[in-house]
């Protein structure tokens, strides 16, 4: 794969995106901030929680989830969107999802910086556990790359997959302890047992534990999130590698 091409293509895509909109970049930062504020107020009222506390809880996993969701959404049409080149030049199809992933990740880092500022204002006591956050992003980033790659390949063959994926993501999101706290349920209840089987619980813990509970993420959190994200990347890579010869006929 041509690294020079990946670099040039990603750079020109970024330029294209922000060429005419100076506000475009600002919007990128405003959007997650406003989303977070609205959600905190609404759910704090619904859950009868202290707004300040709830915002800190919500902040942790929600920002990471939004990054994941956005990556998958952006990557989904990346290979189909690369038809202008895939039909004319010998180019590795990997560059298209990879380039979208890079763009989403760069945007996420900026958005994260802004929301982190907001968070530091809200949270009263800062703890040493915050230093683990950069590491906590890695499983999320890998999960996004793997899932996005799978979606990008499947989308070439089934153009109506977007709705299905959106539905699945929504289901996963609302069943995971991102909006609500896991101790909402009694310890031996069925719901609590189901949550322990929910993979996103472990991904979310990577952010919630250092930010909200002021503890280090546990071994299980790291093991499950690294394992699942690694598997998704492997699956995406194998899938695209296996089907890359057939893409041309479906573009």
């Amino acid at each position: 794969m041509s690294k020079t091409f990946l670099y040039l293509y990603t750079r020109s895509q970024l330029k294209l995106k922000y060429r005419h909109t100076y506000l475009g970049f600002l919007w990128n930062l405003l959007e997650p901030a406003s989303y977070l504020i609205v959600l905190s107020i609404v759910f704090a009222v619904v859950n009868r929680m202290n707004i300040r506390n709830y915002a800190v809880y919500l902040f942790g996993a929600l920002v990471a989830w939004r990054y994941f969701e956005r990556t998958v959404g952006l990557m989904m049409e990346s290979i189909v969107g690369g038809d202008w080149l895939l039909k004319k030049m010998p180019v590795s199809p990997f560059v298209f999802p990879l380039s979208r992933w890079l763009i989403a990740s760069v945007e996420f880092l900026f958005a994260f910086a802004v929301v982190l500022g907001l968070f530091l204002v809200l949270k009263q006591d800062w703890t040493i556990h915050l230093v683990v956050l950069p590491l906590a992003m890695i499983p999320w980033a890998v999960l996004g790359l793997g899932t996005g790659m799978i979606c990008a390949v499947v989308f070439v063959f089934f153009r109506d997959i977007r709705q299905v994926v959106q539905m699945l993501l929504m289901f996963v999101f609302f069943t995971s302890p991102i909006l609500f706290e896991a101790d909402l349920f009694k310890e031996h209840s069925l719901q609590a047992a189901l949550l322990r089987l929910h993979p996103v619980t472990y991904f979310a813990a990577l952010f919630q534990k250092p930010l909200y509970y002021a503890v280090w993420p546990g071994v299980a959190d790291w093991a499950v999130s690294i394992g699942i994200s690694g598997l998704s990347l492997l699956a995406g890579w194998l899938l695209l590698n296996r089907l890359k010869g057939r893409l041309y006929f479906y573009l």
């Binding site: 010998p90 180019v91 089934f158 041309y248």
Partner: protein, 258 residues
């Protein structure tokens, strides 16, 4: 050896638009209807050596462009093997140019395509000015290529493809576009590349051009190689066969009418 392909089959599914959905895939599970296929290349084997100048002729739909795409590595055939010499700058100029992104400027597109041909950014920095000069597009080079006319588009593609000094050049019918003066410039440049030892494969309907420029001519018909040999002989055979073919059809038509 630059290219060596053996027993290559390429088939396209027809009415593909209807099949690219989950819905129709699920429906297909129950009805077991196989998609109708069109065989664009049917058991084609071919070798092209260093510094050969090969022309490819044939009627529309004979598989010429598909063959060029297989050589370029854009299409992976469903059956058969393809070998292409590694480490060579292979430049494909397929139907009206190189893959250009419509929203990016001519200059950005030159860098993108150039990097895919195996050149570094620094090498391209040195070459881009002369590419722009040759294409005569100085005024428009920083505008998105979607605003270009088809002639401008082809000029930029041609300037880029020939300026980077390719070792292998694959050209699919680009002589129809651009004005006469630009075409003449192109042909001069192409001849210089060929003299310098570049391997070239041309697909064209311009038989006289192919006979004059190539030292080997391949005639394709319905995905098969009908003839492969000296340009003047293959061209004569092609003219005779296709000419009599269409005349026969014409007389049959008139016979029915009378």
């Amino acid at each position: 050896m630059i290219f060596s392909i053996a027993n290559v089959h390429v088939a396209f599914a027809r009415n593909i638009l209807a099949q690219r959905s989950l819905k129709s895939a699920l429906a297909g599970l129950f009805t077991h209807t196989a998609a109708p296929r069109f065989l664009a290349l049917n058991d084609v084997s071919l070798e092209i050596g260093e510094s050969e100048h090969v022309g490819v002729i044939g009627r529309n739909g004979a598989g010429k462009s598909t063959l060029l795409r297989v050589l370029a590595g854009v299409i992976a055939p469903q059956e058969g093997t393809v070998f292409a010499a590694s480490g060579k700058h292979i430049v494909p100029l397929l139907e009206l140019g190189i893959g250009f992104h419509p929203d990016l400027s001519g200059r950005e597109n030159c860098y993108l395509a150039g990097s895919l041909m195996g050149y570094s950014i620094r090498e391209l920095d040195g070459r881009i000015p002369s590419i722009i000069r040759f294409s005569e597009l100085e005024e428009f080079i920083d505008e998105p290529v979607k605003g270009y006319s088809s002639g401008m588009y082809a000029r930029l593609a041609f300037a880029l493809a020939t300026d980077v000094e390719p070792e292998v050049l694959l050209v699919d019918e680009v002589f129809g576009v651009g004005d006469e003066f630009f075409m003449r410039k192109c042909i001069v440049r192409m001849q210089r590349l060929m003299k310098a030892g570049a391997t070239t494969v041309f697909v064209s309907h311009n038989l006289d051009f192919l006979v004059a420029q190539c030292d080997r001519l391949i005639w394709l018909d319905r995905g098969r190689i009908v003839a492969d040999g000296k340009p003047s002989e293959v061209a004569a055979e092609y003219r005779r066969a296709e000419g009599s073919h269409s005349i026969r059809h014409g007389s049959a038509g008139s016979a029915v009418r009378t």
